[in-house]
């Protein structure tokens, strides 16, 4: 139980870091890209920034799930490996539904 708790703490901290990184990076790219678009400076670069920011935003929650899968494998908690695996499969299903 004790080992379990510390694993959960560690996972929560890592998840927090992943989410913070994704939020700050995407918001910064959005802010710079928007200002560039509005003032008409380097439109192609601005579009690239906005598009990249959006992809990072969309990739952040899945990245958090991947981190969780890794932690549960490490703890050999197979029930949660299965559950987080289902989440990843459903997200993969969204990618398939989006492009095929």
């Amino acid at each position: 139980m004790n080992r379990d708790r510390s694993g959960m703490q560690r996972l929560e901290t890592t998840i927090g870091e992943v989410l913070r990184f994704g939020t700050i990076t995407s918001s910064t790219m959005f802010a710079i890209g928007l200002v560039m678009t509005v003032v008409g400076y380097q439109p192609a670069a601005a579009q690239l920034l906005l598009a990249t920011g959006l992809v990072i935003l969309l990739a952040t929650p899945p990245a958090r799930v991947v981190v969780s899968v890794i932690e549960y494998v490490r703890e050999q908690d197979w029930t949660f490996v299965l559950l987080t695996g289902i989440v990843l499969l459903a997200l993969a299903g969204s990618v398939v539904a989006a492009y095929f």
Binding site: M8, Q9, L11, E12, T13, I15, G16, E17, L19, R20, G22, T23, S26, S27, F30, A31, G33, L34, T37, V38, Q47, L50, A51, G53, L54, L57, L58, T60, P61, P62, R64, V65, S68, F80, L83, T84, I86, V87, A90, L91, G93, S94, V95, A97, A98, Y99
Partner: protein
């Protein structure tokens, strides 16, 4: 779908402002901002509902990530419950996202109207509601949790009951999230609190964790189908971030009773407009 480009400075400002207001209201009322942002984008700016939903989902992801990053480590988020229920919400959001591509705009609008009425009812029902009272000595078990509650200045323990019901509510919430561009917390939080034994703050924090990955399931589909444009999502996301930040500072401690009644009234008007404008 060419009506949205090029992005003019005024349009970007309007979307940013709408996001800020929606984000602040969302925080003040304990809802996501999507339930306000989507109708603004469709009914006022004339975006197709699919575009509005896609933009709103991007803001839901940003809010979820920001809020969860901030809360990580304070025990309020129940990671285990979150991961269990996410298996249901993401499957729901995949199905909802596919469905959204198949049904007509008018159907989506009517569905939004129905959900807006339901949300209004939940908001009104909560006006005088207090938290579920819990036994502090309970053994949390495998799925339950324990956290320090700032309001009562004590440790709160809880067990999670009726897991199948929570899974079902999460599955429905995932569907609705993708179809209409809202987070779905409005469905999960009341169920988790009233029927599954979770304290309101833990239910809300856990739901905030889940809505990010749920919204991503839908947003990926909209993105791939060309309904999610970075140029429009960016000002909305920034607006909601700013609005939620401001809302969290303004709403704390203030009485939001009148605000709830006002917002419920607005949601009813939104519902009526969605129905009236669902016939092309």
């Amino acid at each position: 779908m060419n009506l949205l480009n090029p992005l003019t400075a005024p349009l970007a400002l309007i979307i940013f402002g709408a996001g800020a207001v929606a984000g602040a209201l969302g925080v003040a009322l304990g809802l996501g901002g999507g339930i306000f942002l989507v109708p603004f984008l469709t009914l006022v700016l004339g975006f197709p509902l699919k575009s509005a939903a896609a933009i709103s989902l991007a803001t839901v992801i940003a809010t979820s990530s920001a809020v969860t990053a901030q809360r990580a480590g304070n025990q309020l988020i129940n990671l285990r419950v979150g991961m269990v229920l996410e298996a249901a919400t993401t499957v729901g959001s995949l199905l909802g996202g596919i469905t959204a591509q198949l049904v007509a705009e008018s159907v989506l609008r009517r569905l939004f109207g129905v959900v807006a009425i339901a949300v209004a009812a939940v908001v009104l029902g909560r006006v005088n509601k207090r938290n579920v009272i819990l036994d502090p000595m309970v053994d949390p078990g495998r799925l339950g949790g324990r956290f320090y509650d700032e309001e009562s200045h004590g440790i709160v323990s809880y067990r999670v009951k009726r897991l199948p019901l929570a899974l079902f509510a999460s599955f429905i919430a995932g569907n609705v999230s993708s179809l209409l561009g809202i987070g779905g917390g409005i469905i999960k939080v009341p169920v988790l609190n009233a029927w599954c034994g979770m304290p309101l703050r833990a239910a809300a924090a856990t739901s905030a964790l889940m809505i990010g990955v749920t919204a991503t399931g839908g947003a990926i589909i909209y993105y791939g189908r060309g309904d999610l444009q970075p140029l429009l999502a960016a000002p909305a996301v920034l607006g909601v971030q700013v609005g939620s930040w401001a809302g969290a500072r303004l709403a704390y401690g203030a009485s939001v009773k009148w605000l709830k009644v006002l917002m419920a009234a607005i949601l009813v008007i939104v519902a009526v407009l969605m129905f009236l404008r669902s016939n092309p």
